[in-house]
Symmetry: C2
């Protein structure tokens, strides 16, 4: 089989298709899901593929894996247009748009080392979601880029 | 179009198909190529797909990009079975197996901070390739995993 043919056999049996990811963000989405390849389940990624709606987009298919609500919440911050399709037995059984939450609790770590949430205190991190980033409720530090690096799921 | 259909339209016009990558190593190959998505060219990745020869393998297609010899040299260290297909105008015009070089010069940085190659001296890094890693010619430090993190192309 030619390499081209092989990659086309990418329909998944059970798992999740994340479509309409902001172009170029799929590696950050993988980071959110904690996937680096060593997990041995099949993953297909299309990066910067043409899209009517978005110009360019990324698309990600993960075999044998569904997403938790906190993963979806963080995903919505870097890919606000994403749609999440749950596939079972080769059929899409559920299709959802992501929706940015008002708050993200216990998922992101604060980039400010002096923030109380980085001490050994028993407080959960808590960020208010804004149009272009998130703001720590404790120290008001703002996190815009590099969100994926501060995920602590 | 369904998400499935869209990903299948992944034949590339001009660029490189890297096939038979060791399963789970495609993100490290992307790191070697310096690709993180922000470059805006189209990339397709199949991770942990079934392979007759390797059991599982990764496959990577990069539109509009060919590889330098030093990129191929480093790639051969983490994916010794890889084949590199150069595609022009939708046709594979060249197909090569990678071949681990005897030495890797000026590509990897030494993980040993005290190594002379990490000083400001005008010396190029130089590693001897072994069966299961590379050894710095200056300080004998051995680098096995995390090769991708020490690339300095």
């Amino acid at each position: 089989m030619s390499p081209d043919r092989e990659l086309r056999v990418s329909k998944i049996r059970n798992g999740t298709v994340i479509d309409h990811i902001t172009g170029g963000q799929s590696l950050n989405v993988l980071a959110i899901l904690g996937i680096d390849g060593s997990e041995e389940f099949s993953v297909s990624i299309g990066m910067n593929v043409p899209s009517d709606r978005l110009g360019h987009k990324d698309i990600l298919k993960v075999e044998g894996r569904e997403l938790s609500q906190s993963e979806v919440d963080v995903l919505s911050l870097i890919a606000p247009e994403a749609t999440i399709n749950i596939v079972r037995d080769y059929e899409v059984v559920e299709k959802n748009r992501v929706e940015p939450p008002a708050e993200v609790v216990g998922v992101l770590s604060c980039p400010n080392r002096n923030c109380i949430s980085n001490d050994d205190e028993p407080v959960e991190t808590r960020f208010t979601v804004m149009a272009d980033g998130v703001r720590c409720d404790y120290c008001s530090e703002i996190l815009r880029d590099r969100l994926a690096e501060h995920i602590d799921v």
